[in-house]
C-alpha cells in the first residue's frame, strides 16, 4: 500500500502531465503513473535506428495552448522551437510545387491566390470564434443545466453572432459542409485543393467529400502556436522535449512522476474511485483518479462496465475510435533531394495530396477495410533544422500517411511490408533518389500505435474528431465535463474536449474541474 495521494493520474502523456502540473500548483499531492519507461505518451522522441531519433507519435506542433505554455512556464523548463511558422508545400510531380504560408500561397494563379487569402482570413476568423471553447468546460444540456452551462452556451452563440450577420450566415452555411465543396467553390489549382482537403481529413475517418470536414479544418486552425493562429512549429529535440518540459514543470510544482508503473485497474469503494491497482498488485490510494487514457480503455478496461450504467457503457462502446493513420520513419544517410524545392521549402511541411479526387480515392479503400493504393502523406525532415536528431550529414524523415485502417481486412501482419514499400515508392515520386539513401525504415500502423502508446484503435485523437463526438458530445454525454459518472474519476486525455493534438487544453480543463469539484 502506497501513501495516499490527493490525485492519481493514470498515464503520463502530455495531457496527464499538464493536468498534474496544474493540480500540483494548486497544492494537491499528485502522482502520475505511466506504463512506459518514459513519459510523453504519443508525444515522444524515440530512437528508431542507432543514432537516429524522431518524434514517434505526433511530429508537428499546431496548437500547444498558449495558456498552458504561460501558466506552466514551459520555456523556462526547457521548451524551445527548432522551427516556427513552417510553410506547407503541396508537392507536384512536375516540380511546380504550391507553397502555403499564412494567407499567402505561391505557385497558383492570381485568382486562386486572392481567393485563398480571402478564405484563409475568413476561416481564421471563424476558428477564432470557436477558440474560446477550447479552454472551456463544454456546457451540459437539458436536464441539470446550470447557470455556468447556460453562460458557456451563450458565449459560444455570442462569439458566432459577433461575426456579424453576413459572416455568421457564411459560418453556418459552411460549418457542417464538406471541404471538397468548399475548395471547389473557390479554387482551380488541384494541388491547393488537395492540400486543403488533406488538412481537413488528416487523423479522421473522413474523406474530403464527407460532411463536416470543414469543421475539422476549423478545429485545426483554432489552435495557435508561437503567438500565431494556424501556425505550425517543430520543437527542438522533437516532441519529446515538449513532454520533458511538461514533466519538469509538473515535478517542479511538486508532482511525483512514476514511469514503468502500468495501472491495471481503477479501484472502487462505496461507489467512488479510491485509487488504482498496478500490475504486480501494488495499490496506490488517492481521493481522486484522473485518467489520461482514452475513454474506452478508462471505462471498459481499467474501471469495468459493472461500475457504470449500461446506457453510458453503450455510448462508450460505440465511440468511433479506429485510427486511419500510419507513421513512417526513414533514417537517411544523406540529405534528401526533392527537385524544385528551395531550402526554406524543404524545411517545411511537405504534403502529398495531388488532388481532392486522389485523397477521396485513398479514403474509398479505407471505407472497405483496405489500405489506400495511393496514400496521401505529410512529410517533415526535422533534422534539417535540428541536428540533434541524426548523426552529422545524415537525416531523418518523418511521415504520416492516410489511409491505413486499423481493422484492415487482410490484417497488418500480411500487409505491413508492402504498405511500407508503397509509402517509400510514393515519396520516391517526388524524391527520386530517396530509396538509395535509406539506412533504416520503421512503419507504425494503427495496430502498432495502439500497442506502443496504449491508445484504443491506434487513434491519435483517442476517438474520432467528428461533429457528433465534439464539444458536449465528447467523448460521450455523461462524461463531457471531465467528470465520469463514477464519483472521484475524471478524464483528462484527448478523448475529452477539446480533443487531440499536442495542445494540453484537455489536461488544463480537467485540472480546473478537479480543483472546483474535489475538496482537498
Amino acid at each position: 500500500m502506497s501513501a495516499g495521494y490527493d490525485v492519481a493520474i493514470v498515464g503520463g502523456g502530455h495531457n496527464g502531465l499538464v493536468c498534474a502540473a496544474y493540480l500540483a500548483k494548486a497544492g494537491r499531492k499528485v502522482v502520475v503513473l505511466e506504463t512506459a519507461k518514459e513519459t510523453g505518451g504519443a508525444a515522444k522522441t524515440e530512437v528508431f535506428s542507432p543514432g537516429f531519433k524522431v518524434s514517434s507519435g505526433a511530429h508537428l506542433l499546431y496548437q500547444l495552448h498558449p495558456k498552458v505554455l504561460a501558466d506552466l512556464a514551459l520555456e523556462k523548463h526547457g521548451l524551445k522551437l527548432a522551427a516556427d511558422d513552417l510553410a506547407t508545400v503541396a508537392l507536384a510531380r512536375d516540380g511546380a510545387h504550391v507553397t502555403l504560408k499564412g494567407p499567402s500561397v505561391e505557385g497558383v494563379s492570381p485568382d486562386d491566390a486572392r481567393a485563398y487569402a480571402n478564405l484563409h482570413e475568413r476561416l481564421l476568423r471563424f476558428a477564432a470564434a470557436l477558440r474560446p471553447m477550447l479552454s472551456q468546460v463544454p456546457p451540459r444540456l437539458g436536464e441539470g443545466m446550470g447557470l455556468a452551462d447556460k453562460i458557456a452556451l451563450a458565449k459560444l452563440g455570442w462569439s458566432i453572432r459577433r461575426l456579424g450577420r453576413v459572416e455568421m450566415r457564411e459560418f453556418l452555411r459552411i460549418v457542417l459542409m464538406n471541404v471538397a465543396d468548399l475548395a471547389e467553390e473557390r479554387f482551380e489549382s488541384d494541388l491547393l485543393k488537395g492540400a486543403l482537403s488533406f488538412d481537413a481529413v488528416l487523423g479522421t475517418h473522413l474523406g474530403p467529400r464527407s460532411p463536416s470536414t470543414v469543421l475539422t479544418l476549423l478545429y485545426r486552425l483554432a489552435g495557435e502556436v508561437s503567438g500565431g493562429q494556424g501556425r505550425i512549429a517543430l520543437p527542438a529535440g522533437g516532441m519529446g522535449s515538449v513532454t520533458a518540459a511538461l514533466r519538469q514543470a509538473a515535478e517542479a510544482a511538486g508532482a511525483e512522476v512514476r514511469t514503468g508503473s502500468p495501472v491495471a485497474q481503477i479501484l472502487v469503494e462505496q461507489d467512488r474511485a479510491v485509487g488504482v491497482g498496478l500490475d504486480g498488485g501494488e495499490v496506490v490510494t488517492a481521493r481522486t483518479v484522473v485518467s489520461n487514457a482514452d475513454p474506452k480503455t478508462t471505462f471498459l478496461c481499467l474501471l469495468g462496465a459493472r461500475h457504470l450504467d449500461a446506457g453510458f457503457v453503450r455510448r462508450v462502446h460505440k465511440l468511433r475510435s479506429r485510427g486511419d493513420v500510419a507513421k513512417l520513419h526513414l533514417a537517411l544517410d544523406g540529405r534528401p533531394e526533392i527537385p524544385g524545392l528551395s531550402e526554406a521549402q524543404i524545411r517545411g511541411r511537405l504534403v502529398i495530396a495531388p488532388s481532392i479526387m486522389e485523397v477521396e480515392e485513398a479514403f474509398n479503400a479505407a471505407k472497405y477495410g483496405e489500405a489506400s493504393a495511393a496514400p496521401a502523406m505529410e512529410l517533415v525532415i526535422p533534422s534539417l533544422g535540428d541536428p540533434s536528431l541524426a548523426p552529422e550529414g545524415k537525416h531523418v524523415l518523418s511521415a504520416v500517411a492516410i489511409y491505413a485502417p486499423y481493422a484492415l481486412k487482410a490484417g497488418w501482419d500480411r500487409t505491413r511490408e508492402s504498405f511500407k514499400q508503397r509509402l517509400i515508392d510514393r515519396i520516391a515520386l517526388y524524391a527520386p533518389k530517396i530509396e538509395q539513401q535509406i539506412v533504416a525504415a520503421e512503419l507504425l500502423t494503427p495496430i502498432d500505435l495502439e500497442k506502443r502508446f496504449g491508445m484504443t484503435g491506434g487513434h491519435w485523437h483517442h476517438g474520432e474528431l467528428a461533429v457528433d463526438q465534439l464539444l458536449m458530445n465528447r467523448p460521450v454525454p455523461g462524461a463531457h465535463q471531465y467528470a465520469a459518472p463514477l464519483p472521484g474519476l475524471y478524464l483528462c486525455g484527448a478523448g475529452a474536449h477539446p480533443g487531440g493534438g499536442v495542445m494540453g487544453a484537455a489536461g488544463m480543463n480537467a485540472a480546473r474541474q478537479v480543483i472546483a469539484r474535489e475538496k482537498r
Binding site: G142, E143, D271, L300, G304, A305, R306, H307, L308, D309, A310, G311, F312, V313, R314, H317, G478, P485
Partner: protein, 400 residues
C-alpha cells in the same frame, strides 16, 4: 454467403401460439388480441364469467407470447444484479423474484419476473422486448443472453381450484410449492416447469414447457379440470383480476423509459410504488446514482390505489384537488365485483396522493344513450392489493 436469418417470416404477420389449435376451437366469440406478434383470445365466451372462474374455480390463460430471455454463464448473477434494482444474490435457485429494471436516469424500462433456474442460469419474463438493452448490459460480463420466447410455451393456471386440479393430474408434491417457488415436474411423460406465480393475485401456477408438449398438456388439464370448473380465460378477464391484485402494467400504468418520447414521461421505481424493490446496499446497478439522487431530492410522482365513490368505472379519468386543481390521472380502473368497490390505479403529481390525500375528486364521463353525463366524485387513497385472499399464500393450498 448465405444469410443466417429467417427470410420467410414476413409471410406470416402474426403468429398463433403453440396452443392456438385449442384456443381457437374454444374461442366462441372469435375475439382476439395481439400480443408481441402473436394472437391470444381477448375473451372466449364472456369475459365477466371468465373473470368469475378465475376467482371461484380455475382458468387457463395462454401466456406463451410473454417475452422470455435466458441469461446464463459464470457471471449471470452479477449480471442480473447490475440489471435489476433488487438484490439477486438473495434469490436462491428454484425461486422467482418480481423485479424492475431501469435506464441510466433511474426510469423503469419494464417489470417482470426473474426465475433462478440454477446457480448460473436465469430466465427473465417480461412484457416488452429488451434484447438490445440486455445485450449491451452484457458488455464486460462473462454471460450469454438469448431470447427464448418461442422456445417455451406458457400456461397460467389460476384460481382457487388450481392446486387441486394439478394434483388430480398426478403431480406429486405440487402442494409444497410456496409462492415464487419454481420446480420441474413430469406430467404423463411431458417435462414441465411449474412456478407458483401469476398475474391474478389469487392462488395459481404458471406452467412452462416445450412447444411440442403444449397440446398434450392442454388436453390433460382440461380432462382433469372438468370437475373443478376449469374454463379458458382471455386477456380481458385477466386484466380485471390483475387490477384487483394491484399489479401495474407497462404501457398502461407507466411508459417504459425507452418508449417515452419525452424524457419527463419516464417513471422511477419510487414513482411507481416499487421502492421496496430498490436495494442500494448491494453495489452498483443501472440507474443507482440517479435513484440515490432522486431519493435525496424527492420524487415528482407517485402511483397509488384509489377507492372511488359510486359504481362508474373511471378509466383515464383526471383527478382534481378541491375539484379544480388537476393533480393526477387514472391509469387502470374497474368496478370490482369481488371487492364490491370502484377501484383504480392512479398516477399523482406529488405531494398529491402522497402527503395530501384529502379533498381528491375524480371527473368521470359516462355515456348514457349518446348523452355524456359528467360526474365529479370523491376518491380516497387505499392500500394495494385491493383483493388479497389468504389462499394465495397458504401452503399447502386448500383443496377446492
Amino acid at each position: 454467403m448465405p444469410l443466417d436469418v429467417e427470410q420467410e417470416h414476413y409471410k406470416v404477420r402474426v403468429r398463433g401460439t403453440p396452443f392456438h389449435e385449442r384456443t381457437a376451437a374454444l374461442n366462441l366469440n372469435n375475439d382476439w388480441q395481439r400480443w408481441a406478434g402473436y394472437t391470444v383470445p381477448n375473451s372466449y365466451f364472456n369475459s365477466e364469467l371468465e373473470y368469475f372462474a378465475i376467482r371461484n374455480a380455475a382458468t387457463l390463460y395462454d401466456v406463451s407470447p410473454m417475452i422470455k430471455y435466458r441469461i446464463s454463464g459464470a457471471e449471470a448473477e452479477a449480471y442480473c444484479n447490475r440489471l435489476v434494482t433488487r438484490d439477486v444474490a438473495k434469490l436462491k435457485p428454484g425461486r422467482v423474484a418480481y423485479v424492475v429494471w431501469c435506464n441510466d436516469a433511474g426510469h423503469a424500462l419494464d417489470d417482470g419476473t426473474l426465475f433462478r433456474l440454477g446457480e448460473s442460469e436465469f430466465r427473465l419474463c417480461c412484457q416488452e422486448r429488451h434484447l438490445d438493452w440486455l445485450l449491451d448490459c452484457a458488455l464486460g460480463f462473462d454471460v450469454a443472453v438469448e431470447e427464448v420466447t418461442w422456445d417455451i410455451a406458457g400456461l397460467a393456471l389460476q384460481g382457487p381450484a388450481s392446486c387441486a386440479l394439478l394434483r388430480r393430474c398426478g403431480l406429486e408434491g405440487l402442494e409444497q410449492l410456496k409462492p415464487f417457488d419454481v420446480r420441474d415436474f413430469d406430467l404423463d411423460g411431458q417435462k414441465l416447469s411449474i412456478s407458483r406465480t401469476g398475474f391474478t393475485g389469487d392462488l395459481g401456477y404458471e406452467l412452462w414447457m416445450a412447444p411440442e408438449a403444449a397440446l398434450p398438456v392442454w388436453d390433460r388439464l382440461f380432462e382433469a379440470g372438468t370437475l373443478h370448473g376449469l374454463r379458458p380465460a382471455g386477456s380481458a378477464a385477466l386484466d380485471l383480476a390483475r387490477i384487483e391484485a394491484g399489479f401495474i402494467l407497462p404501457t398502461v400504468d407507466f411508459v417504459p423509459a425507452d418508449q417515452a418520447l419525452r424524457h419527463t414521461r419516464g417513471r422511477s421505481p419510487f414513482e411507481l410504488g416499487l421502492e421496496w424493490l430498490v436495494d442500494f446496499g448491494k453495489g452498483h446497478f443501472n440507474g443507482r446514482r440517479a435513484l440515490l439522487d432522486e431519493k435525496k431530492k424527492g420524487s415528482q410522482y407517485c402511483l397509488v390505489g384509489l377507492d372511488i365513490q359510486g359504481n362508474k368505472a373511471a378509466p383515464h379519468a383526471l383527478i382534481y384537488h378541491g375539484q379544480n386543481v388537476e393533480v393526477g390521472q387514472i391509469t387502470s380502473a374497474m368496478w370490482s365485483p369481488t371487492c364490491k368497490k370502484n377501484i383504480a390505479l392512479a398516477s399523482f403529481r406529488r405531494p398529491y396522493g402522497d402527503s395530501i390525500r384529502t379533498d381528491l375528486w375524480v371527473e368521470i364521463y359516462v355515456l348514457k344513450e349518446l348523452k355524456w353525463d359528467k360526474l365529479m366524485v370523491r376518491c380516497k387513497v387505499v392500500d394495494r392489493p385491493f383483493f388479497a385472499p389468504e389462499r394465495r399464500r397458504a401452503t399447502p393450498p386448500g383443496d377446492f
